[in-house]
Every structure is written in structure tokens, then in C-alpha cells.
């Protein structure tokens, strides 16, 4: 037969359980804005019944703890999507800055002089065209020399801006790698703690921290995750180099190679090329640094080299104002590499422009006519210099807008996934308020049970005399 004491114990247990559950709610409410926190639900369990004289009696309930509302698959989808989104975002940010270097190509005014390559190519040809009016005029010749200098400056300016962009991206690589290393250290430690505390189940707030760290890591670098025994996680780069194995972190190292920062794994393998475009800001930064900028530099080099060479040979075919055979107009490196940054004006005076055909006097414009024809000749990449520059700017623009579209789509998908996650895991104040109300009632009911039991017990002790024991 059940005893009054047993009922006391059940009521006490209910009060304790309700208190612990209220604790969980208080913790949820206080962590509502903590990044990475997942809401927790109190877990209730019915105590084992006991059988007395063939009758089973319930023994109340216990609060067995809090369980985090977490969907690991969803977390992992968000992490993967973050890696993609951060990759294109970093690439877009860098490309957006680069397209500003060439924003003068959107100018519709021909009168405002700028260091735009397209405009200075035309500016050079147009100064040659004006020299036709009076080939021996030294002020017109001087303006050709000035236009040549502007052309050279335009190439230098674009090329050096691209280089400095490349340098600043290079510096970012080092910063990103140190962030990655800090995070993998932290994840390795969490792996150790989780293996000890909770090898078989969700590790609650430790898991919150681990997921949050992985989420942070996903912003920097593309990764793969593999679940291991004792609730551990092995993390590798998307190309398979280990970053975290159980309780151990493998730091990435950086080193200079060929003028740029390269990334090496713990065994010294160069990961640089396999990390480009493979997720995280690092993926985007490396893509721009090692692919996009070199491509643009090389296009500008080709343009500078071919245009310079064509004008050089045209000038060599003529006679200058002093009756001497024409020489080079531009100094160029021996091959296209670096031409945009190294091209220089070779002549020191306007009189060295070979406007006249060989043997003709200084008023002749025959050679000038052949120089002018270069603007309509397919001298670079199967097209004219201006068309080449036009398609260069156009393809840069297409690249920017393509990456921007890609990024917007990834961002939309990420937002959707985050909404899904938050609807499951974020602290919902309404839920908490309702639960709290519920628990308050539970607590009050258990307390009431306690009071009544107290009265019943008093009745039992005093055998019906109410006033003796209160």
C-alpha cells in the first residue's frame, strides 16, 4: 500500500523537476541572441513504478535534462552553402573594385581626358590624324608625343592598379589562414571535450560551439566533414588535406613562392591551386589573385605589346622631321609578359615621328597614313586595338555581373536554409512564454499537492484534532 510519505516524495520530485525545467527556459531566454545557440527543450521522464502488494504505483517524474533542437543535416547544408556564398562574395568584392579601374570606359564624353586605355589609344591616333593637317608643324608633333605619353601612362595606371589589388588580396590570404588555424584549434579542443562528456549523444552547448566554429570556418575555407567515433569530427579541406582529426588540429602554413603567398598543409604540400574556387573567402580571393587578375594583366600586356610593336614598325618604315630614318616609338620588353607595365615612350622629341615616307621631306604625310591605318588593322587577337579593348572591358563586365548573379542566387538559398534552421533552432520567445506558463502551473499544482498532503499528514498525526499540529 502506498504511503503518505511516498506522495510527499513524488510532490517534491515534481517541484524539483519543474524548477529544473524553468532553469532551462531561463537559459533559453537569456541566450536568445547568442550566436550559435540552439534552443533547448526540457526532457521529462516518468519514474519507474513500484509494485506494492501486486499494485503498481507511479513514482512521479524526473527532468532528465535539456535537449538541443538541432538538425545536423541542415547545419551542414548551411555550412556548405556558406562556403559557396563566401567564395563568390569575396570574388565579387574584388572584381567590383577592379571594374572601377576601367569605369572610364562608360564615359560618353570625348572631351574629358582620362587615363582610360581605350580613350588614350584613340587619343594617340587622333593626334596622328591631326598631324596630317601639317606634318612639319612642331606643335602638332609635340601633341603626338604627349598623346603617346598619355597612352603609356594609361597602361601603367591600369596595370599598377591591378597589381596593387593583387597585393592586397595576397595579404588577405595570410589573414584568412590564421583565422582558419585558430578555428581548427578550437574545433579540435571541442572534439576532445565532446568525446569525454558526450561520446554517444548530442553534446548540447559544446555541440553549439562546435557547429558555430564550423560555420565560422565555412566563411573562410571550403571544407569536408566526416563523423567519427565518440561523436568526433574529422575536417578536411575540400581537396582532402586534413585540418582537424579527432582531438588534433593540423595548421595550414603560408610561404612566399613566386612573389605570392602560397598555402601549405601540415606535410608541406602546396594546396594553393586546389583551394582556388573551392569555397570560403579563401577560394574567392585565390581565384581572383591567381586567375582573374593574371588573365586581365595578360590581356593588357598583349594589347600594349602588339599595339606598341605595330606602331614601332610603322614608324621605322618612315623618315622623321630631320630626314633621319624612323626608330622605335615605344620601348617594349622582349616578349608580351609585363608589356603593360614596362611600355615606355622611346622618342624624346616630336620631330622623331616618322610622318614622311622614306626619302621624302618633312611635309609629307605618306607614312602617317600607314600609321593611321593601324587603328583599322587586326593587330591584336584577330581584331583592332580598340575592339580588343572594348571586348576586354565587356568581358570584365560580364564576369562581374555573372559572379554577382551567382552570389545573389547563393545568398537567396542561404537565407532560405537559415530561415529553416532558425525556425527549428532559434529561441522562440512565444514558445518559451507558453512553456514557462505551463511550468508555473505545474509548480503551483505540485506545491498545492504538497500543502494538501501537509494538511492530510496533520490530520493523520492529530487524529482529527485540527489545531495541535499546524
Amino acid at each position: 500500500m502506498a504511503t503518505l510519505n511516498a506522495a510527499f516524495s513524488i510532490a517534491t520530485g515534481a517541484l524539483e523537476a519543474a524548477q529544473s525545467a524553468i532553469n532551462v527556459i531561463a537559459n533559453n531566454v537569456s541566450n536568445a541572441n547568442t550566436p550559435g545557440y540552439t534552443t533547448e527543450l526540457p526532457q521529462w521522464q516518468e519514474n519507474d513504478t513500484i509494485s506494492i502488494g501486486g499494485v503498481s504505483y507511479g513514482q512521479g517524474s524526473t527532468m532528465t535534462g535539456a535537449s538541443s533542437q538541432r538538425d545536423l543535416v541542415l547545419e551542414q547544408r548551411i555550412q556548405q552553402q556558406t562556403q559557396l556564398q563566401q567564395d563568390t562574395n569575396a570574388r565579387y568584392t574584388a572584381l567590383d573594385q577592379m571594374q572601377n579601374i576601367f569605369s572610364a570606359s562608360t564615359s560618353t564624353s570625348t572631351s574629358s581626358p582620362s587615363l582610360d586605355i581605350g580613350q588614350s589609344i584613340t587619343g594617340f591616333f587622333s593626334s596622328l590624324s591631326q598631324l596630317q593637317a601639317s606634318p612639319s608643324d612642331s606643335s602638332l608633333r609635340q601633341s603626338v608625343l604627349t598623346a603617346a605619353q598619355t597612352l603609356v601612362n594609361a597602361f601603367h595606371s591600369a596595370s599598377s592598379q591591378l597589381s596593387s589589388q593583387q597585393n592586397s588580396l595576397d595579404q588577405q590570404v595570410g589573414t584568412i589562414v590564421s583565422q582558419v588555424n585558430a578555428l581548427t584549434q578550437s574545433i579540435a579542443q571541442l572534439n576532445q571535450q565532446i568525446a569525454q562528456v558526450s561520446p554517444n549523444g548530442d553534446a548540447g552547448q559544446l555541440e553549439d560551439q562546435r557547429q558555430y566554429d564550423i560555420q565560422q570556418l565555412s566563411q573562410w575555407i571550403g571544407i569536408h566533414q566526416i563523423n567519427t567515433e565518440d561523436n568526433g569530427l574529422t575536417i578536411t579541406t575540400s581537396s582532402g588535406a586534413p585540418l582537424v582529426v579527432k582531438g588534433q588540429a593540423f595548421s595550414l602554413r603560408t610561404g612566399l613562392s613566386g612573389g605570392t603567398t602560397h598555402i601549405y598543409d601540415a606535410e608541406g604540400n602546396d594546396l594553393t591551386s586546389e583551394l582556388a574556387g573551392m569555397g570560403g573567402q579563401l577560394g574567392g580571393v585565390l581565384t581572383v589573385r591567381d586567375q582573374d587578375i593574371p588573365q586581365m594583366q595578360s590581356a593588357l600586356d598583349t594589347l600594349a605589346y602588339n599595339l606598341g610593336s605595330a606602331l614601332n614598325s610603322a614608324n621605322q618604315a618612315g623618315t622623321d622631321a630631320n630626314g633621319n630614318a624612323g626608330g622605335d616609338l615605344f620601348t617594349l620588353p622582349s616578349s608580351t609578359a609585363g608589356a603593360a607595365s614596362q611600355i615606355a615612350v622611346a622618342i624624346t622629341s616630336g620631330s622623331q615621328i616618322a610622318a614622311a615616307a622614306t626619302g621624302n621631306g618633312s611635309s609629307d604625310s605618306t607614312n602617317l597614313v600607314s600609321m593611321l591605318q593601324i587603328q583599322n588593322q587586326s593587330i591584336v587577337g584577330g581584331t583592332t586595338a580598340t575592339s580588343y579593348y572594348a571586348s576586354f572591358v565587356s568581358s570584365l563586365g560580364s564576369l562581374v555581373s555573372e559572379v554577382s548573379t551567382e552570389n545573389a542566387a547563393q545568398q537567396a538559398s542561404l537565407t532560405q536554409l537559415t530561415t529553416q534552421r532558425d525556425s527549428l533552432s532559434a529561441v522562440n520567445q512565444n514558445d518559451q512564454a507558453a512553456l514557462l506558463e505551463n511550468l508555473q502551473q505545474t509548480y503551483q499544482a505540485a506545491a498545492k499537492v504538497f500543502t494538501i498532503l501537509d494538511a492530510v499528514m496533520a490530520s493523520a498525526l492529530n487524529l482529527g484534532v485540527e489545531t495541535t499540529v499546524a
Binding site: 576601367f102 570625348t110 591616333f125 596630317q132 572594348a390 562581374v400
Partner: protein, 300 residues
């Protein structure tokens, strides 16, 4: 049903987006430019580079054309003076050959012809902005020099026979000069040589078969110079035609460029007004959400 408790943040993010859109549209309206960086419209930017280049070349051709036409008009009026001098010389030569003049009359005709010759030589040595007009490519060299120490006097040509051309933006090559040796001492119609011969013949005090032949030749040479002048006039006409074609083309290209790169004010204004409506609706929503803060805690 589960929902995202952080939905207010999404409303704020949407608010940020419409604000950014408004900023961009306002920027387009105030600058009048639809495309500010290549990524805004890559195709339009590529075309703009080509159009700007073409427009700039047209623009500089206009300048080249006006200074060339200026020079060629000076050349033309110089040749006009040469023609009128020659007309006078032809009538003097005819007068000298009519057989009624005495030796002293013939000598004075010879003197007059020498004056005309000197005038023609000086016209042939005309400069324009420091450059000799009739010396071919040797613009710094006076094309003709007269030697009076021999009889008949001789004129020598110090220029060359290089013809200069100008290329128009649509690729035409137009002749812009006349070398002196094709006008004043052409092998078939040697104006100055014939004049020198006539001067020498009339100075001797009598007309002859040679002076009669030379008078006829001078008449032919006059026609020849006029023909050469027509070549130059044709060039001027062609240059002016090319100029006006270039300007028409430039006007069309500017129109295309404006279409391509400039803001469509009506369209952008409409977009801006839509964005504004959206913005104020969103602000209303955020305002409501914040005010009511539909949270059960407020009711506990």
C-alpha cells in the same frame, strides 16, 4: 507550425535592399548615367568604347579638315592669281608677235613679262603658316629659285613631286597638295621655262617663229594650270563632303550612345516610385511588428 522567430531581421534586410535600390536609382537620375561600371551592362560598355573611339576620330578629323581646307583655299587663291598673271602674259605675247612693234616696244614687253615671271615665281614660293605650299614634301625649302645670270634665264625646282593625302574616317584618301613641278615647270607645260624663253626672245628686239611657238605654248600652259587648279578644287569639295558626312555620322552615333548609356528618365522615375512605395510599406510592417511585439511575454 514552426516559423523563424528572427523574421523581423528579414524585414530589415528587405528594407536595406529597397534602400540600396533607391540609392542606385537616385544616382542614375542625378548623374544621368545608366551605366557606371562595366558590370552594369557589359555589352553596352563594349559598344560605348567603340562608339567613343569613332566619335573622337571624327572629331579630330573635323579639326584636321578645317585646317587643311584653310591651307588648300590659300593654295587655290594663289593659283587664281597665277592664272590671271598668265592670262596677262598670253595677251602680251600675242601683242609681241603681231609684227607691228619695234625693238624698243618688244623690249618693254620683255620687261613686263619678266615682271609677271617674277610675280609667278614669288606666288609659287608662297608659304602658309611657315610651310611652302608648292614644294611637295620639302615644306621647309623654297621650291623655286631664279637664275638671271644666264640667257634665257632659268628657274630651278628644289622641291620634290611627293603628293600628300589625308585619310578620312571612312577610309577615303584625298589629295591635299600640288607639287610645284606639276604646275610651274611640268615637262610638257613648263610655264616658267616658256616665260623665260619669251623674255629672252623679245629682249633680242624681234619676234620670231620661236616666239610665236612659245606664245602658243604659253596659252596651253595656262589651260594646264587651270586644270591643275580643278584637281585641287575637287579635293576641297571632297574634304568638305567628307566633313559633313562625318558630322551626320557623329550625330547619329551620339544618339546611339545616348540611348545606350544614358538614363531613361521616365523608366527610372517609375522604378523609383515603385521602390518608394515598397519602402514605405516595409517601414509600416516593421513599425507594426515592433510596436505590437507579438510576444506572449508581454501578456504574462
Amino acid at each position: 507550425m514552426r516559423f523563424d522567430p528572427l523574421y523581423l531581421n528579414h524585414a530589415i534586410a528587405a528594407l536595406d535592399q529597397t534602400s540600396a535600390l533607391q540609392q542606385q536609382l537616385t544616382n542614375e537620375l542625378s548623374s544621368g548615367k545608366r551605366v557606371n561600371v562595366p558590370g552594369d551592362d557589359p555589352v553596352a560598355v563594349g559598344q560605348n568604347v567603340l562608339l567613343s573611339a569613332q566619335l573622337q576620330m571624327n572629331d579630330s578629323f573635323s579639326q584636321t579638315e578645317s585646317s587643311l581646307v584653310g591651307r588648300m583655299q590659300v593654295t587655290d587663291s594663289t593659283l587664281g592669281s597665277v592664272v590671271s598673271q598668265l592670262t596677262q602674259a598670253v595677251s602680251l605675247a600675242t601683242q609681241g608677235n603681231n609684227g607691228t612693234l619695234n625693238a624698243s616696244d618688244l623690249k618693254s614687253i620683255a620687261n613686263e613679262l619678266a615682271g609677271i615671271r617674277d610675280e609667278i615665281v614669288s606666288l609659287a614660293n608662297t608659304t602658309y603658316m611657315g610651310t611652302y605650299l608648292f614644294s611637295g614634301s620639302q615644306g621647309n625649302t623654297a621650291p623655286f629659285s631664279l637664275d638671271t645670270s644666264v640667257s634665257p634665264n632659268t628657274v630651278s625646282y628644289n622641291g620634290d613631286s611627293v603628293i600628300s593625302y589625308v585619310v578620312t574616317p571612312d577610309g577615303q584618301q584625298i589629295q591635299v597638295n600640288l607639287p610645284g613641278n606639276t604646275i610651274f615647270n611640268d615637262s610638257a607645260n613648263d610655264v616658267l621655262g616658256i616665260l623665260n624663253n619669251l623674255i629672252a626672245e623679245f629682249s633680242s628686239g624681234s619676234s620670231s617663229a620661236a616666239s610665236q611657238a612659245d606664245a602658243t605654248a604659253l596659252g596651253n600652259a595656262l589651260n594646264y594650270v587651270s586644270q591643275q587648279r580643278v584637281v585641287l578644287d575637287n579635293s576641297i569639295t571632297r574634304l568638305q563632303a567628307a566633313q559633313s558626312y562625318t558630322q551626320t555620322q557623329a550625330a547619329q552615333m551620339t544618339a546611339v550612345q545616348t540611348d545606350l548609356m544614358q538614363t531613361d528618365m521616365a523608366q527610372v522615375s517609375t522604378q523609383l516610385s515603385t521602390a518608394e512605395t515598397q519602402q514605405s510599406a516595409l517601414i509600416q510592417v516593421v513599425n507594426l511588428l515592433e510596436k505590437n511585439n507579438g510576444d506572449l511575454f508581454s501578456l504574462l
